[in-house]
């Protein structure tokens, strides 16, 4: 009796054991890939370490931009399959952080996609507080990061630019890093940013780290050496204080940019440190400090254009020995004034440059057709990009013939004195001016000399000059223009005689560009002219070109030339 019943029991067990074997086969063989992935997801977490950003130096190896260590608290929401619960928890943590660390809601960086809250720039007291909280909560981390610090930020921000938080594109779960969004910081971001370190953390069910494997060590970013001279840059910025405008200093034979200043400027560190109220102020500033006027500002060049018109047309054989200036000239049916209403009298090219006679150039423009004038200026790089790498810049305007709607004769005359539809940026003027002094080479302007690592390994060296184009310059005209520019400063009849220097001999050309603009605040029309000055020094064997523009400053001779003089005395004295 018992035997028979026992046999039934055993058969039942056999049946159940075969179910077990089928189930094991199902789980371990058929669904292996699925469970393997699940197991991986269970135990690994990646942690990222910020590398220090590359440093930026000036031509004399003085530091311009460096880093400051900052600590951030990272609060993450424990994982749950129910998303709404995580969002709810996220909000709770946000309020908690706000109260606990007494920080404003604005200074908490939120990333909802991976449910973390980050508070940076912690004070020692806040840091201590977080450290205590962290002891009981594995979802709190303290992270070391670097804050970008630009020395004398106002003077350098326009070229250095700033950083902003951006998601690294490697993975959507990678933490947010600071990336350059403007200026050199943006342009050379790939070199400067370095490589973030990745650590693979094995975590247990309580989210405690039980094992760490460094997959990749962080490498600090490469350093940049600029051609900019810090002392010159600071001086130039001082000279522009309270004004809107730009100063560009370019080395004649190489195209190295020694000074690039734009005013009004801003404090790049406000962006780098996420100082939200300050950032808001900068963004709302009607003076648009974020625009780098040296590269992006376009202004009618005024009399500065005369240099290039005279030289360009001489190549077409269009030269004018003398012209008589009665104070006006008839172009077509209209009468155009010279800036000196009483007239300059008989003018040759030297005097026309030195005294900036408009009538001479009206007459010169009559000798040439529009295309010749257009090509002359185009040859010097106007209406084109300078080739300066990846810094945003304006091409200025130089319109071909078919785009001109009114009288061609009239437009020719206006362009020849740098008005009408012609406009250029300070950097374009500097490059064009340099070509006159280096034998007709249109050089690519350069900001960055070298990219090198901390152990002084040079990765890139950009110091060899790059010629974009070479222009044949008519020698006689060139000498006349140079003489005219010398006389403009150093002859009593010259337009910038009052800015002559006893310390440094220099040459230059003033420009006064007439503009009608709307005052941004009051919408009133401003008729104040843009003041230009383009010059070079030393006179014998020129080395540097300087371009000064002061927006709505008034006359070039009175406003721009004195600034140039101060600068040249500082730099060349």
């Amino acid at each position: 009796m018992i035997e028979k019943n026992l046999l039934v029991v055993f058969l039942v067990f056999c049946a159940i054991f075969s179910i077990i074997l089928f189930r094991l086969f199902h789980l371990q063989v058929l669904k292996y890939d699925f469970f393997k992935a699940q197991a991986q997801k269970n135990i690994f977490k990646f942690s990222y370490t910020d590398p220090p950003r590359g440093l930026i130096f000036d031509a004399n190896n003085d530091i311009i931009a460096s880093n400051q260590v900052s600590f951030c608290g990272v609060f993450s929401v424990p994982y749950s399959k129910k998303r709404h619960l995580m969002i709810q928890k996220y909000e709770e943590i946000k309020s908690f952080v706000e109260q606990e660390l007494s920080v404003s809601r604005e200074s908490i960086q939120e990333t909802l996609n991976n449910f973390t809250l980050t508070v940076c720039n912690l004070t020692p007291i806040q840091l201590e507080r977080i450290y205590r909280l962290k002891l009981f909560n594995p979802n709190i981390e303290i992270k070391k990061t670097y804050n970008r610090v630009v020395n004398k930020p106002e003077a350098f921000s326009s070229i250095i630019g700033y950083l902003a938080q951006s998601q690294s594109n490697q993975s959507s779960f990678a933490p947010i890093r600071q990336r350059g969004v403007l200026g050199v910081e943006k342009c050379y971001d790939d070199f400067l940013s370095g490589v973030e370190g990745i650590t693979k953390l094995s975590i247990n069910v309580r989210a405690e780290t039980v094992e760490t494997i460094t997959l990749r060590k962080e490498t600090s970013g490469l350093n940049l050496k600029l051609f900019i001279r810090k002392d010159w840059q600071n001086r130039a910025f001082e000279l522009l204080s309270g004004k809107a405008g730009a100063i560009v200093v370019l080395e004649v034979n190489t195209g190295y940019l020694r000074t690039v200043v734009s005013a009004p400027s801003y404090n790049a560190n406000a962006f780098n440190n996420q100082d939200v109220p300050e950032i808001r102020k900068i963004l709302n500033n009607v003076e648009k400090p974020l625009i780098n006027r040296a590269f992006q500002g376009v202004y009618p060049p005024g009399s500065v254009a005369k240099i290039f018109v005279a030289l360009g047309l001489a190549n077409y054989g269009k030269k004018l020995k003398t012209a008589f200036c009665p104070g006006y000239d008839l172009v077509g049916k209209r009468s155009l004034r010279c800036h000196k209403r009483s007239g300059h009298g008989t003018m040759d090219l030297v005097e026309a440059i030195s005294q900036s006679c408009d009538v001479y150039f009206y007459n010169l423009s009559k000798l040439a057709n529009y295309d010749e004038i257009f090509n002359s200026l185009s040859l010097f790089g106007f209406g084109k990009e300078t080739g300066l790498e990846c810094i945003p810049q304006s091409k200025g305007t130089l319109r071909p013939k078919d785009k001109i709607k009114h009288s061609i004769e009239f437009e020719k005359a206006l362009i020849s004195i740098g008005q009408g539809g012609f406009s250029a940026s300070p950097i374009q003027v500097a490059v064009a001016m340099a070509s006159l002094l280096n034998g007709g080479k249109i050089l690519k302007p350069k900001l960055v000399e070298e990219i090198y690592s901390d152990d002084s390994t040079t990765y890139f060296n950009f110091s060899s000059p790059e010629v974009m184009q070479t222009i044949e310059l008519e020698k006689q005209t060139m000498e006349a223009v140079k003489e005219g520019m010398f006389k403009a400063i150093n002859s009593s009849s010259g337009t910038a005689y009052s800015s002559r220097s006893k310390q440094v001999l220099y040459a230059g050309k003033t420009g006064t560009a007439q503009v009608i603009d709307l005052k941004r605040k009051t919408k009133q029309k401003i008729h104040e002219d843009h003041a230009w000055f383009v010059g070079y020094w030393p006179v014998e064997n020129p080395k540097f070109v300087i371009v000064v523009i002061v927006e709505h400053g008034g006359s070039g001779g009175q406003i721009a030339a004195p600034i140039a003089k101060e600068f040249i005395e500082f730099a060349g004295g």
């Binding site: 009796m1 018992i2 035997e3 028979k4 019943n5 026992l6 039934v8 029991v9 055993f10 067990f13 056999c14 159940i16 054991f17 179910i19 077990i20 074997l21 189930r23 094991l24 086969f25 789980l27 371990q28 063989v29 669904k31 292996y32 699925f34 469970f35 393997k36 699940q38 197991a39 269970n42 135990i43 749950s80 399959k81 094995s202 975590i203 247990n204 069910v205 309580r206 039980v210 094992e211």
Partner: protein, 358 residues
């Protein structure tokens, strides 16, 4: 020496060894790289002790009166201890352990054996079937009630099952099965309402629906990941991430089989499952071939006891049975369970008619 005897001891010893290895793996501290834990050492000591007790017991020749005396006395003592345990300090919300100076033990594990000895006695006694069945159920229910207050519902259900099996073994199967089926059907809803705690109901519902991974079924999900990610050949000994990173709950006790599956894969798991079935088969053969009715009844009941525990535990780790605190015999960490099972097997082997030959 007898083949059955050698086979049984070898199989159980092997299972026990694999169990110790798994316990060792489950309790090793990954951060300290310390692979031998106190759990593994204690389990080894109990194993050696149990193994020798089993060998000793297998050589004892029981006659009915000796068995009756021993069974009744030990059952009485253990019942009292089980009741006594109810007043001890609870661990994890249950009063199951009795503390001695050097060790603590679970009387309920031993009560299973004594209950089965008494049940097998009743089974072979010369009394009328109805009264016999009544006594069988009374014994079972008495033990079940004792542990039910710990609270340990699954163990009390096991006692009910032992009684039922005892009744089944010594009665007319067809009528018996029919009536018991009817009774279970009637009792089940009342039982669900009155005896099951909400968490237990949730577990059963979760099992039936197969959802809610972070709730009551979370343990099972982690166990499934452990088993499934083991693949065909496993992750290698001490290579199981689910256990070593503490994702698996109760990994050295209830879920020790998951640890083994993760590290030794489908091949290892199949081997162990087959070995368990082989042990059951050997014990059953002893029951069949035993000359005494008592031996048949006792060994048969032990087969059912071990079989049910094995099946419940493995099905639980594979997500096919609700999560109960049933240990895997010879595998899970736990001195009481291990000792009681060795005693049970030793007693079974003493009924092997060829055992006395050496």
């Amino acid at each position: 020496m007898d083949k059955t005897l050698i086979g049984t001891f070898t199989s159980i010893g092997l299972l026990n060894l694999l169990g110790i290895l798994s316990v060792m793996s489950a309790t090793s501290d990954v951060s300290l790289d310390n692979t031998v834990s106190g759990f593994a050492i204690r389990q080894s000591i109990y194993s050696i002790l149990g193994f020798f007790i089993a060998i000793l017991l297998s050589r004892v020749q029981f006659n009915l009166s000796l068995w009756r005396t021993l069974a009744n006395v030990s059952h009485a003592v253990l019942t009292m201890l089980t009741i006594f345990v109810l007043f001890s300090e609870p661990i994890k919300g249950a009063s199951r352990w009795l503390d001695f100076v050097f060790f603590s033990f679970q009387p309920a594990e031993f009560l299973k054996i004594s209950t089965i000895s008494v049940l097998s006695l009743l089974c072979v006694s010369q009394i009328e079937t109805k009264i016999k069945l009544f006594l069988v159920f009374l014994t079972g229910i008495l033990s079940a009630v004792c542990v039910a207050f710990q609270p340990d519902l699954s163990t009390s259900l096991l006692f009910a099952l032992y009684s039922w099996t005892a009744g089944y073994l010594c009665s007319q199967p067809k009528r018996y099965v029919f009536w018991s089926f009817l009774i279970v059907l009637l009792i089940a809803p009342i039982f669900w309402e009155l005896f099951l705690e909400p968490y237990q109901r949730r577990r059963i519902i979760a099992l039936l629906r197969g959802d809610d991974p972070l709730g009551s079924n979370w343990q099972v999900l982690q166990s499934l990941i452990a088993v499934g990610s083991g693949g065909i050949f496993g992750k290698g000994y001490l290579g199981g991430t689910q256990s070593r990173f503490e994702l698996l709950p109760e990994r050295h006790t209830d879920f020790v089989f998951s640890v083994f599956c993760e590290e030794f894969g489908f091949f290892g798991a199949t081997f162990v499952v087959s070995l368990f079935l082989f042990v059951l088969f050997l014990l059953l053969r002893i029951a069949m071939s035993s000359s005494s009715e008592l031996g048949k009844a006792f060994t048969g009941l032990i087969v059912v006891k071990l079989g049910v525990e094995i099946v419940l535990n493995i099905l639980m780790t594979l997500g096919l049975a609700p999560v109960t605190g049933t240990a895997l015999p010879f595998f899970s960490y736990g001195g009481s369970s291990l000792m009681s099972n060795y005693i049970a097997v030793g007693l079974c082997l003493s009924f092997n008619k060829k055992s006395r030959m050496f």
